[in-house]
Every structure is written in structure tokens, then in C-alpha cells.
């Protein structure tokens, strides 16, 4: 075990998997950086968040491929390379850029295997940074997992800490299905203990981060540490909750949620997404469909408002569901029933 940032844990997983399997390639804008520049460096960036740093010097530019600004082409290339036997890890700098590449995600990689009668395998990992927290405004701050989660054929991964980031990325690269790998940009610097050597976290297994009695709190990515903060405060008052970190939104670990709900009878879902057709909606709906017998109070959803992500610090802080709103929702869920 070593303590490291999520960025370094991801970087470690990439190095290890590229070492382990020569079919793994990395591609995207500035995944190395410096090509055509005047400094002579070919590892000038290593990804704008530094996650792919050091890969080009180690594995060369046939396996670490800088591209032009052509996201449809980046994702499409990953799709084709996968069909042809490689295991590409493609990068969209910002998750918001699914906009310019959505067809290759939603109509192509997600559907090949099904449309082609089960004969195709498309082991693509699409890494992207998501979420608010850097005041990057409306086009660089979205968490887009709901619109990926709804697409059959995709798996969707949302790590909240360095150990999971390493374990889930390793799993993603070894997985034979297309995986959307969403790295919350406000978590890159989050530190934590990370297992040395091979570390895999299976998909579809949520983590029970805390155990408690009074309610079930389900959270995703950056909402997990925020929920922990809220719980720290409530625990001082004797209020305890199960805190479930989904880790993957597709597959969704319904069992863990429903089991916890059967014990607590109360549910709070914390989702950085906009409210409509969100993961919060999905899980609240799950409770209404399959957890109804246990439900003792209205489900509380803590989400962003139905607005784009605003720029100014004051506004972004209001936009993102924070510990205070989570705490208030937990208090609310305890009131009734």
C-alpha cells in the first residue's frame, strides 16, 4: 500500500496494463503532447491532467497516439482498433466532449456486439474528466453518466478514490465490453492508500463505505466524500447511515441498495447530475418499484438544479450538491414515517 493521488493511481494502472498487454494503446489529444512543438519534448503534457504522463517515452508513439482535435475520429478509431484486436484507451479531455463524438459512443461501440449477432468484441475504454469544481463553466463541467448509463451496451464507471480508480481502470482495460471511465476532475488530487501490484475492482459491486442504522445514502464520485462530511457531522449527534458508493452506474448494483434499504427504510440519493432522468431518478424509481415494501418515508434526491453549470465561484458552489444539502436531506428523510 502506498498513499497516492487519484491521478497517480490512474497513471500507475495505465503503465501496468500497457506493460502487461501490448494490445493496449492510448490515444487522444495531447496524451503525450509536444509533437510539432519547438521544445523537442514528446511528453510535454501527458494529458492535460497528467494522467498519461510518461507513457510515450516508455511505450513509443505507435502505442501512445496524439491526435488532432477530432473527437468523433478519436472515439471511432478506438472502436475500429478494438474490432481489429487492440485494446484502446481513448481520452476525451472533458466529458462534455461526448457532444462532438456521441454517435461513435451511442450508435457504434455500444451496439456493435448486439447488431452484429454477438460476433464483435469492442474492448474500448473511454476516459474523460467530468464534473464541476474548477469553474470551467457550462461546457467543461458536466457529469454525463446518466446519458451514458441509459445506453445499453455501455458500462459506466465513476471512481471516488484512488484505490478504486486503480482497480476499476485495470478492470476496464481488461474488460471485453466498452467502458466509459469518468474521472471527476475535483478528485484527481484526492489522496488515499492504493494497493501495490495488480488490483482489480469488479464492476457492478457498490462499496458500503459506512454502515449505519437510520437511512441509506447512495452517492457517486465526488458526492461520496461530500456525503462523508455530512455523515461526520450527523454521527456526532448519533445519526448513522449506510453510505453506498456506487462505483459503477452501469451495471448498477441494485442488490446492495435494496438490501440496505430493507434495513433502514429510508433513502437519500446524492447525484451531481441535473435532476431529470438522473441516477437519482433511477434509484428513487428503483425504490418505488422494488423497495416499496421497505420504504418508510419519501425518497430524498440531492442533485444539481435543472440549469447548466454556472461559472462564478459563488454560483458553482450553489450548483454543486454539497455536504450541507446532503445533511439537510438526511434530516428530512428522518422526519416522516
Amino acid at each position: 500500500m502506498a498513499v497516492m493521488t487519484m491521478r497517480d493511481a490512474l497513471n500507475d494502472a495505465l503503465h501496468r496494463e500497457m506493460e502487461r498487454d501490448e494490445r493496449v494503446i492510448v490515444l487522444g489529444e495531447d496524451v503525450s503532447g509536444g509533437a510539432g512543438g519547438t521544445s523537442g519534448s514528446r511528453d510535454a503534457a501527458g494529458g492535460i491532467f497528467g494522467v498519461t504522463k510518461g507513457l510515450l517515452p516508455r511505450f513509443g508513439d505507435k502505442r501512445v497516439i496524439d491526435t488532432a482535435i477530432s473527437e468523433s475520429c478519436i472515439v471511432g478509431m478506438a472502436n475500429g482498433a478494438a474490432l481489429a484486436g487492440l485494446r484502446p484507451v481513448a481520452e476525451l479531455m472533458f466529458a462534455d466532449f461526448v457532444g462532438v463524438s456521441f454517435d461513435q459512443i451511442f450508435n457504434q461501440m455500444a451496439k456493435f456486439r448486439y447488431m452484429f449477432g454477438g460476433k464483435a468484441k469492442t474492448p474500448v475504454v473511454l476516459r474523460m474528466s467530468m464534473g464541476a469544481g474548477m469553474n470551467a463553466a457550462a461546457q467543461h463541467s458536466q457529469v454525463i453518466y446518466p446519458m451514458l448509463t441509459m445506453v445499453p451496451g455501455l458500462k459506466v464507471v465513476t471512481p471516488s478514490n484512488p484505490a478504486d480508480a486503480k482497480g476499476l481502470l485495470t478492470q476496464a482495460i481488461r474488460d471485453d465490453d466498452p467502458v466509459m471511465f469518468l474521472e471527476h476532475k475535483a478528485l484527481y488530487a484526492r489522496k488515499g492508500e492504493v494497493p501495490d501490484g495488480d488490483h482489480l475492482v469488479p464492476f457492478g459491486e457498490a462499496a458500503l463505505v459506512r454502515e449505519g442504522q437510520d437511512a441509506t445514502v447512495v452517492a457517486i464520485a465526488r458526492m461520496v466524500p461530500f456525503a462523508e462530511k455530512a455523515l461526520d457531522k450527523l454521527e456526532a449527534e448519533g445519526i448513522t447511515c449506510d453510505l453506498i458508493d456506487l462505483r459503477t452506474t452501469s451495471p448498477l448494483d441494485e442488490e446492495t441498495i435494496l438490501e440496505s434499504l430493507s434495513l433502514t427504510g429510508r433513502l437519500v440519493v446524492v447525484d451531481e447530475a441535473n435532476p431529470m432522468c438522473s441516477m437519482a431518478s433511477e434509484i428513487a424509481g428503483l425504490a418505488a418499484r422494488k423497495g416499496f415494501a421497505h420504504l418508510r418515508a419519501p425518497v430524498q434526491c440531492v442533485t444539481a438544479p435543472h440549469t447548466p453549470v454556472p461559472f462564478a465561484r459563488e454560483l458553482e458552489r450553489l450548483y454543486v450538491p454539497g455536504p450541507d444539502r446532503i445533511e439537510a436531506a438526511i434530516r428530512d428523510v428522518l422526519k416522516e414515517g
Binding site: I25, K62, R63, I65, T67, A68, S70, S72, C73, I74, V75, G76, M77, A78, N79, G80, A81, A82, L83, A84, G85, L86, P88, D103, Q104, N107, Q108, F112, R113, Y114, M115, F116, G117, G118, K119, A120, K121, P152, G153, K155, D175, D176, D177, G204, P251
Partner: protein
Amino acid sequence: MQQSPAQIRHAYTRMRLIREFEERLHVENPKGEIAGFTHLYAGQEAIAVGICENLDERDYIISTHRGHGHCLARGCDPRDMMHEIYGRADGLCKGRGGSMHIADLSKGMLGANGIVGGGQPIALGAAIACALRGDGSVSVSFTGDGASNQGTVFEAMNMAVVLKAPKVFVFEDNGYSEHTGASYGIGGDLKTRTEGFGIPVWEADGFDYFAVYEAARDAIAEARAGRGPVAVLATATRYFGHFEGDPQNYRAKDEVKRFREEKDCLMQMRRRVVEAGIFSESDLDAIDAAVIEQIDAAVASAREGPRPGPEIMLQDVYLDY
């Protein structure tokens, strides 16, 4: 004609196979047993076959919504394809894909594609795999005149040049993009526009098998040698509507008739092969008859093929979920 008689027989047979496959679908379609959109390739056979005769096992192709010709030229089984088009459980794609999504990965056939322009970046990805293997293999995308205006196609041309990838862009100008003439939608012209990206272009009459074959041979040799992407631009026409059922209001009444009578690729090929004394008319008639028999059998078995059920609906979304 530097090709051996065996090669010529192979190419002629493939072209005839495509033609009969499509002509027969045109007859079967109105009967109501075939569901969905069917886009026929008849008229353009010399292009698909002229390209694919230059490929071998290691290579890849990716097709369009008008995919039957490319699939057959690449060696997909016509019976399995027919079953797919009829939506049968034992079709090439288990009845899940249909005409617009026929794929055969075992043959390096990366799929027809219902999204115009969807295939070109994918084919470029396969080209990268070819380059990494370093075995001289290439990846081919087919692109219609209409599709040539899709942003993804431009992106793929650009990136192919950046990466010097062994990628072959085949442009098939059949005069129409659905109900709109090719000349309307294309800014500049296909050749100059492609060359503007730094991609050399070989032009060929798309009704002339030998012309396409030779252009493709030269172009593909460049790509195999690692000198970067190439393009082949071939002009032809489609004999039928955009899809089966299209009333073709955008087309002069006798347009197709004239192409059929004056330029038909099979007619031209027959004439040249017979004139060169390679095969006799009756040799070729025998091929035609065998092909027709094959298609008859494919249709007959497809009509009786097994219907897919709920398991087929639910399987193969993931390998593991």
C-alpha cells in the same frame, strides 16, 4: 488485362452474385416478407469487386447503409446474408441487424453502418491496428458521394494523413444522396477536396471492373508500402431507388435505362473477356446460371428460416454484465 483467368472468373462471379442478389431482393421485397429499409447496390458492382479483389485475409473493410455489395465482394456467405435480411435467427447477425448492419468480423468485414459517415473513423482505427502489426495490411472504407460531406469523413481523412495510416478511402459517386443530386451537396469536387488533405486520388470509371481494379491495385500498393492513406474515386449509378419503395421523383425517367444499356459493368466485362478470348459466352452463362441457383436456394431457405425469439433479443448486449 493482366489478371489470370481464375482471377477474372472469381471477380466476374462475385459481380454477378451481387447483381443477382440485388435483383432478386428487388423482386422479393414487395411481397412483404422482408422488413425494414433495404438499399440495393446493383449498378455499382465493379467498384466493390474491383476494390476487394485487391485485398487479402489480413485486410479490413467497412461498409455503408448500402452494404450487400461490399459484403459479398468481401466473401460473406450469401445464404447467411439472405437469412439476415429476412430477419432469421440463423442469419449472419441472428436477425438482430438486418440489411443495414450486416457484419462478418471473421472476414475482416467491420459492418454495414446505418449512420452515414460512421464507418470512416472506425476503419481508420483498424488501419492503426494494421500499422501496429506491421504486416502490410490495409483498411478500406467505402463512402458515398453524399456521405463525403459528413464531418467524420473529413476528420478521418485528416487523421489518416497525420498518422500516415494504411487507410484506403473509396469514394463511390453514384450521382445521388437519397433524393438529392451529388453535385448539389459537394463543395468543390471530390478529387480536389481529397487531395487538399494531402491524400493522393486514383480515379476510375466505376462501370469498368478493370479500371477500378487497376486504380485500386496501384493505390493500395502505396498504402501497403507505408506511404500513408490513399483514395480511389469511382463513378457509377444505382439501378434502383435509394431504398426499396423509393418512387425516384428526382430522377429522369430513362436515366437508369440508358446506364443499363450503355455502361452496365457486367455487360462491359463480358464483352471484354469474351473479346480477349479468355472465356466464351457460354462459360459465363454457366457462371450466371450457378449464381442464380445459389440465390434461389438462399431465398428459399431464408423464407423458411427459424424465427428469432426472446433469448436472441436479450443476448449479446454485453459479453459479461
